[in-house]
Amino acid sequence: MDKLERLLHDKIGFKSFRTGQRDIIQSVLERKDVVAIIPTGGGKTLCYQFPSKLIDGITIIVSPLLSLMEDQVHQLRAYGDKSAVQINSLLSFEERTRVLKELTNQSMLFISPEMLGNEYIKKRLKSLPVGLFVVDEAHCISQWGHEFRTDYLRLKEVRALLGSPPCLALTATATPQVEKDIIMELGMKNPTIHRFSVNRKNIRMNINQAENTKEKEENFFEFLSTVEHPGIIYTATRNDALRLSEKMNVMGFNAAFYHGGMTKEDRILVQYQFLNNEIPFICATNAFGMGVNKQNIRTVIHMHLPSSIEQYVQEIGRAGRDGMESIATLFFSKEDQTLPRRFIEMEYPTDKELQLWLIDGLSFYRKEDSIQANWLKDFFQIDDVRWRMLRYYLEKSGIIHADLLLMNKINSQYVNRLSAFFMNRKNKKELCLDRFVKLVKGNQCIRQGILSYFGESYTFEQEACCSVCGYLEEKWEKKKKPIQRMEYISWQEQLQKMLLPQWTER
C-alpha cells in the first residue's frame, strides 16, 4: 500500500483503485484541468469524491439528470459520506437555503446547471473557496454529444466567476470531436486527458433482426430462456415496459417494470428489489440504470433501437461491472425504425408551427407591449415537451421575461434563426440514429464499428465478440440460475420474521 492508497483507505475505506482512477485522481490533485473519458461502471464518483477530502475548498459537481443526482447523493450519504449535498428543483426553497447556509470547506455540492444560473446561488458560492469544479456527463456541452444541453454553455462563465478553480470533466462516451468541444466550451487550459477504451471485453454483443414485431417477440422469449439473470430489458415507451413485464410474468419469468412516471416510493422499491436480487428481470425505459450501482448484471436486452451509438454503449455498459462474462442483445424488426424517428420529429416544433405560433398567432396582439407567455401554449395547445423547450429558448433570448412575452422583441429574423437552430439539432440527432442503424444492420463487426466511432482501433483479439464475427454460442457457458418462486407465508408469520427474527430461528 502506497501513500495514496493509505489515504484512500483512511478517507473512503477502499483498499485499492480501479483501472484509471489513480491516474485521474493524481492529475486532479496536481490541480490540473482534466478531461476523463472512462467507461460506465469505471467508478467515476471516486474521481472527485476522494480528491474532495484532500483539496481545500468545496467541490462543486454539475450534473444534468435530477433523478441520477438524487440517487447518487442518497447513496453517498447512506454509506456514511455526509458531506454530499444537493441543490436542484426537487428541493423546496427552504431546503435549498438551508443547504447553501450549511456548506463547508469539505462539502461535495451536487447542483443542476439551471440552479447555477440563479443569481442568489451564484453569489453565495462566490463567497466560498471552491477547490474543484466537476462537470459530470460533460458530453452534454457539445452539439455533437448525444444529449446536448444549452444550460451547459454557461458553465464556462460560472467557473470564471468562481475564480477559475481546477476543472474535472467526466464522461463515459466522447468522440474526439466531443472531447475538443468540452475543452473549448469549459475554457480549460492545457488539460490532461485521460481516455480509456470504451471496449468492454466481457460483454459480447448480439444483434437479432426479425421480420416483424411478432417474430421479434418470439425470438425474445426463446432467447430469454437461455440467458442468465439479473437482466435489464430496455423498451421504447413506458407502456411497452409495463406490457412486456406482464407478459414475462405470465410466461414464468419474474419481472418488474420501471419508468419515470412511477411514484418515487415505487421507483425506489423496484430498484432495491433488483439490487437485492429479489427480482431477476426489470423491463424499463432509459430512465432506469444510471443511479443503479449493481455489479452482477449478466444480461442487457434492447427491444427497441436506442437513439445513438453513445446511448447504446452507455446502456449495455451496465452489464458485467464485476468483470464477468455478460451479454448484450438487441432485438429489432423493420417496424422499429420509424418510432425513434418519430420521437426526434416530436421533440422540435416545425418551421410552419413556429411561424404560426410566433408570427401569425401573435399578430392579434400587435398593439400590446406584452402578453402572458402561457397564452401561446393554451391557445395553440402546444404539448408540454415542446413548450418547455420553446419557452426555454424564448427566455434565454429575453423574449419571455417574468412570464411575460415581450412583443417588440419578436420578429421574423428571430423566428428564422430559431427554426434553423431546431433544424440543425434535428439533423444531428437523425445522423446519430442513422449511424447506429447502419451499425446494427451492416455486416461489419459491431465492436469494431463502435470503437472506430470513438476513434479507437480494434485488433480482433477477442474470441467471443459479437454476432457478426461469430458469436461462438458453444463458448457461452450457460450457468442459468433457476428463478425462485416466492412461497406463500401468512402475514402473521411474515411480521414475526421481520421483527422477531430471534424467535423464528430458535
Binding site: G80, E95, M262, L269, Y272, Q273, W491, Q494, L495, M498
Partner: protein, 355 residues
C-alpha cells in the same frame, strides 16, 4: 376503464359542468389553493380530494383527450361535463368500485398526515430491522431528509434496547392488523422493507384488489387512515405507535399567508386595514377570507355582506342549480361583488346538505 377513470369521472359528474378540466385535476391532485379548497366543500368531495396526489399532469391530459375522443365528456363553455355515454360508463364503474371503508382524503392525504405517518413508520421498521441484523449501512427507502432526521431522533429518544422495541412494535402492529381481513393485513406487511425482503409496489400487490394498482393504493391508504384513527382513539399512553402520530411536519390546510391575515383579523383589524398593512392586492386578501371561512364554521361571513344578500345568493344558487359566480351575479344584479358571492357560497353546504 379502471379505478382512476372511476375517480376522474366521479369528480366530473359532481362538478356538473361548472368547472374546467384543470379544476378536476387540481381536486384529485389536492392542490393547496383557495379555489380547490372551496370546490372540495361546495361539491362535497372531501373523501376523494387529494386521492391521486401522485398523478402526473401528462397522464391526466392523455386520459381526458381519450374521453373527448370517445364522446364520454363534452365542453360546456370553458367547462366540461359528462355526456350520456360517459354517465353510462360511470354507472358501470360505480358497480365495480367504491371508496374503501375509513377513507378520507381531506383529513389524511391533503394534510399529509398519512404520507408522513407511513414515511416515518416504514423507515423506522427498515432501520430497526437492519440494525438488528447487524447492518449499519443500508439505503433508506425514504429520500426525504427530514423523515430520515426524524427517525434518527426517534431511535435515539426511545430508551429501550432494540429487541424490546421490536417486540413492542410487533405486538402493536399485530394488534391492529388482526382487525383487518387477511388480504388487507398482507397488503400492509408486504409494503415494509426489511433485510428479509424489499417492499412490493402497488402493481405487484394488485392481484387481490381488482387487479388495479390505483385501487390497491386506495385500499392501502384507507388502511393507514383507519390505523391513524385507531391509534388516536385507542392507543395506550406508552404505545410506540403513538410516536408516529407526531404532527410536527403535518400541513395546516390554511396557507401560510392566510394564516397572517387571520392573526390580523383576530387582532381586530378591518379588511381595508389589512390590505394596506400587508401591502397585498385586494383579491389576495379576499382569497384568504374565503379560505378562512371554509375552514371555520364560525367565521363571521355576515360582517362582509347582509343577511339578505346571503339568503339571496344561496336561494339563487339553489334555484339555478349552479355554483358559477358569473351566472349568480347576473341573476342578482350588479350590487353584489364576486367576493361576497364566494363568501356566501361557503355556507352552501351547511344549509343545503344534499346539494
Amino acid at each position: 376503464m379502471n379505478c382512476l377513470d372511476w375517480i376522474i369521472l366521479t369528480v366530473i359528474e359532481r362538478f356538473n359542468g361548472q368547472r374546467t378540466s384543470s379544476g378536476v385535476y387540481h381536486l384529485i391532485k389536492g392542490k393547496r389553493s383557495a379555489q380547490t379548497l372551496q370546490d372540495t366543500h361546495l361539491f362535497n368531495l372531501q373523501t376523494i380530494v387529494c386521492s391521486q396526489n401522485d398523478l402526473e399532469k401528462e397522464t391526466f391530459t392523455k386520459i381526458l383527450d381519450y374521453y373527448f375522443k370517445t364522446d364520454m365528456v363534452e365542453s360546456a363553455g370553458k367547462n366540461i361535463r359528462l355526456t350520456r355515454s360517459g354517465m353510462e360508463v360511470l354507472n358501470q364503474l360505480n358497480n365495480c368500485y367504491y371508496i374503501p371503508q375509513g377513507y378520507n382524503g381531506a383529513m389524511f392525504e391533503w394534510t399529509d398526515r398519512a404520507p408522513l405517518f407511513w414515511g416515518k413508520l416504514s423507515l423506522s421498521i427498515q432501520s430497526i430491522t437492519y440494525l438488528m441484523s447487524g447492518n449499519r449501512t443500508f439505503i433508506p427507502v425514504s429520500y426525504e431528509v427530514e423523515t430520515q432526521q426524524w427517525v434518527k431522533n426517534f431511535l435515539k429518544s426511545v430508551n429501550v434496547p432494540l429487541e424490546i422495541l421490536c417486540e413492542k412494535l410487533h405486538d402493536e402492529i399485530y394488534h391492529f392488523l388482526q382487525q383487518l381481513s387477511d388480504s388487507e393485513a398482507e397488503l400492509i406487511v408486504n409494503r415494509f422493507t426489511t433485510p428479509k425482503g424489499t417492499g412490493k409496489t402497488f402493481h405487484q400487490l394488485k392481484d387481490r384488489f381488482k387487479n388495479d394498482h390505483v385501487y390497491t393504493r386506495l385500499v392501502f391508504q384507507s388502511l393507514l387512515h383507519r390505523w391513524l384513527q385507531n391509534i388516536e382513539e385507542t392507543a395506550e399512553e406508552d404505545s410506540v405507535m403513538r410516536h408516529f402520530l407526531d404532527k410536527s411536519r403535518g400541513v395546516d390546510l390554511i396557507t401560510g399567508s392566510a394564516q397572517h391575515t387571520k392573526l390580523l383579523l383576530d387582532e381586530g383589524f378591518s379588511m381595508e386595514e389589512i390590505i394596506t398593512k400587508r401591502g397585498l392586492k385586494r383579491s389576495t386578501i379576499e382569497d384568504h377570507l374565503v379560505e378562512l371561512a371554509l375552514n371555520d364554521k364560525n367565521f363571521p361571513v355576515i360582517s362582509y355582506l347582509s343577511e339578505e344578500e346571503l339568503t339571496n345568493v344561496l336561494s339563487i344558487a339553489n334555484q339555478l342549480k349552479t355554483k358559477r359566480l358569473r351566472i349568480i351575479k347576473e341573476a342578482l344584479g350588479s350590487e353584489i361583488s364576486y367576493f361576497q358571492i364566494r363568501l356566501a357560497l361557503t355556507k352552501y353546504q351547511e344549509l343545503n346538505p344534499n346539494g
